[in-house]
């Protein structure tokens, strides 16, 4: 009887602990990791924030077709969304030395309005738990990850745009 009580008490405690830890372990913005801007200057990824507005962080590479399709498809919505919701897209290229120097001219050729950074040593990629590209994260205004996808299928840009609108309107994200 006593031991039964003890076990349920333990279970309760463990449950509570897990809850506390889960709550506090959820991410707050980007982690500490050294990345570069397109001018070759080094910076810490954790310095990238969007002042209380939603932020999309998309890992891509110049050799990854679905990544480029995704960033292009979303771009059609981006200008309006940025104006309406203040959302910002951070596109993190994981191109290594082979294709790293192509990133700036490539981005220019795509005429993207995104903020593009380089992660040639995969520092941020590893810290964010990104295995393959494309991998896209949506952060809310508090820097918490509310949605992520490890793929791109056509039409996903619409879903993402709706989620950004919902976030900006203070609605919950499924």
């Amino acid at each position: 009887m006593l031991s039964g009580f003890f076990f349920s008490f333990m279970k309760y405690l463990i449950h509570l602990l897990t809850l506390f830890i889960t709550v506090t372990l959820s991410a707050q913005g980007l982690p500490n990791a050294e990345i570069q801007n397109l001018q070759g200057q080094t910076l810490d990824a954790s310095s990238l924030q969007n002042e209380g507005h939603p932020m999309i962080v998309s890992f891509w590479a110049t050799w990854c077709k679905p990544c480029i399709s995704e960033l292009n498809a979303f771009h059609d919505y981006y200008l309006d969304l940025e104006e309406e919701t203040g959302v910002k897209v951070i596109a993190i290229s994981i191109d290594d030395p082979r294709t790293m120097s192509k990133v700036a001219p490539f981005v220019a050729g795509q005429a993207w309005d995104y903020s593009v950074y380089l992660d040639p040593n995969s520092n941020l990629r590893r810290a964010m738990g990104v295995n393959n590209v494309p991998h896209t994260f949506l952060f809310d205004g508090d820097g918490k990850i509310v949605w992520q996808a490890n793929k791109y299928v056509p039409g996903e840009e619409v879903e993402l745009a709706h989620k950004v609108e919902a976030l900006a309107a203070g609605q919950p994200i499924e």
Partner: protein, 556 residues
């Protein structure tokens, strides 16, 4: 007991609340294939594995708490799948580290990945999709000395499957961002960085004939300047004599030069690069082969193709010597213009080439002989062997909300003898004309249609005509996105023009992919062509296989 629990609860709660930045992330990947005996693909059964079913996977955990992070990766190969290096066998923790990044110091103990500049003398990296991992195990210290100067020091040994190479690797790198001391440059939109590095390896030698160096040093310098859209990056590396299996145990020093100029402005990007590599294989084991224990990384300057048929003719850097260059232009015809259409039209042109380097006889009339200086070389002259040529052009346009199209044309010259069979340039120089350079013309037409109910259909038609080697091929692919979380893909490559009649066969593959947030599950069934599989510029030979494959990847 209760007190103890309460205390534990308090401590945990306090530490959890107190450290808002802590995160724990995990990546899990698991792959398996059940191989089927395919007598058409592999008549003698030489590629049919005894295990019938091979499976492998890994899990990477990364814990970050403010300025502290630690992580580990567990890997499991039961047994390693076909096409991956067979050295991966069994299971274990292959990667673990602890890192503190506080004030001006970033200190890592255990395993780490790092690169100096573009990696010409040092790059430790992983490419899990290819089974490549030369992680360092040791110490890395990065310090910010102020005035824009960052210094990195590394010391350790390199991963070799579940063990480590015997050679010790030491390296030092300094990078100076000039803008930090001359802020006036930033005002003029000029950004300049200089860098220099030195790397040395130690491996005791016991050769009875050759007097091999125990210590081999290499240095590199680099500069990068950006001015309004223009960017210039250049790097030069030098390595002292390093007789190795790769270079046939010659004593010639190695050099590498890489320079890239680019211009970027919204809607237009242009890039040109040149490269020369001379005897630059650098491993922590002089007898290393395949991808084992490379200290450096020599990036190929060709465009990595992703469409299936052009990707059958990939280029990989020839570490013993190559000279080449690349030109690329990307242009977006503006939205709303006559030629650009409502959404704009993207054009791109890419051309690249690589040849052997000039390798002349030494004074004693030898060339490439073990124990000699190897050869003489004029750095401004191309060698006679054509390794690779590639000219490709593409146009992509979104016609409406419901239809997009992308057309690409390719023209390759592919030296099969060097790139596929691995014959060295010295051998070919002694027997000129014995190599076979394959000419390939290919076309890829990709279309994407939006269907009702949020479904989409993506199709690819590919056609490659080759005057030898694999012969002519045609391919069709249809990828149907049934719902945002389910995709069905069907493809078939028909090698109708293979020089050998028995290999004029179909390579069909059906795959079903299910997505759920960061989780992807893929089941495939079909026949995989023998070929060279590349990720981000590194390539590995994949044997032919048939069967049922399963893949799960998730991050938590």
């Amino acid at each position: 007991m209760k007190k103890l629990l309460l205390f534990a609860l308090c401590v945990c709660t306090w530490s959890a609340w107190g450290q808002q930045q802590s995160t724990l992330r995990a990546i899990l990947q698991s792959d398996a294939q059940w191989y089927l005996r395919d007598e058409v693909l592999d008549p003698s059964g030489e590629f049919y594995p005894d295990e019938r079913l091979l499976g492998q996977g890994f899990a990477l955990f990364t814990y970050t708490d403010g300025d502290f992070s630690a992580g580990m990766r567990y890997e499991n190969y039961q047994n390693v799948m076909l096409g991956f290096p067979p050295g991966f066998r069994g299971e274990g923790i292959s990667y673990r580290y602890a890192r503190l990044n506080r004030d001006r110091w970033n200190i890592t103990v255990g395993n780490f990945y790092e690169q100096f500049g573009s990696g010409l003398i040092f790059r430790s990296y992983e490419e899990r999709g290819l089974g490549l991992d030369n992680a360092m195990d040791g110490v890395r210290i990065i310090t910010d000395l102020g005035h824009g100067l960052t210094v990195k020091g590394v010391l350790g040994r390199q991963r070799l499957y579940f063990g480590k190479g015997e050679g010790i690797v030491r390296g030092l790198d300094a990078e100076w961002s000039i803008n930090d001391v001359l802020p006036v440059l930033s005002a003029q939109q000029i950004y300049a960085t200089l860098g220099a590095s030195f790397v040395s390896k130690f491996q005791k030698s016991f050769d009875p004939i050759l007097n091999l160096p125990n210590n081999v040093g290499a240095w590199a310098t680099r500069a990068s300047v950006n001015f309004k859209g223009f960017a210039w990056n250049t790097e030069y590396a030098y390595k002292i004599n390093d007789p190795s299996y790769d270079n046939g145990y010659i004593y010639r020093p190695g050099t590498a030069f890489l320079s890239t100029v680019s211009y970027s402005k919204k809607g237009l990007g242009i890039l040109a690069s040149v490269k020369r590599i001379d005897n630059m294989s650098f491993r922590s084991n002089r007898d290393g082969q395949q991808f084992d224990l490379f200290i450096n990384f020599l990036p190929p300057t060709t465009k990595p193709h992703t469409y299936a048929l052009p990707a059958l003719y990939p280029y990989a850097t020839q570490v013993n010597g190559e000279m080449g260059g690349q030109f690329e232009i990307n242009y977006m015809i503006p939205r709303g213009s006559k030629w650009g259409g409502k959404y704009g039209t993207q054009l791109s042109l890419n051309a690249s080439m690589a040849n052997s380097i000039d390798k002349g006889y030494l004074e004693d009339g030898t060339r490439g002989e073990k124990g000699t200086q190897g050869y003489t070389s004029n750095p401004f002259s191309f060698g006679p062997i054509v390794y690779f040529r590639d000219v490709n052009a593409s146009v992509a346009r979104k016609f409406s909300k419901k239809f997009k199209s992308h057309l690409t044309l390719f023209n390759f010259q592919y030296n099969k003898t060097v790139l596929n069979d691995g014959v060295g340039d010295i051998t070919l120089l002694e027997a000129p004309g014995t190599d076979s350079v394959i000419h390939v013309q290919a076309i890829v037409w990709e279309n994407q249609f939006t269907l009702p109910k949020g479904q989409t259909l993506r199709t690819e038609f590919q056609w490659a005509l080759a005057d030898g080697f694999r012969g002519d091929m045609a391919m069709g692919l249809a990828e149907w996105t049934i719902s945002p979380d389910l995709t069905l893909a069907v493809q078939d490559i028909y090698n109708y023009g293979h020089p050998s009649e028995s290999r004029r066969i179909h390579y069909p593959i059906v795959s079903l992919i299910h997505f759920n947030g960061p989780t992807r599950v893929q089941i495939g069934y079909g026949r995989q062509q023998e070929g060279i599989f590349c990720v981000g510029g590194v390539c590995r030979v994949v044997p032919p296989s048939s069967g049922l494959s399963f893949s799960l990847t998730t991050s938590l």
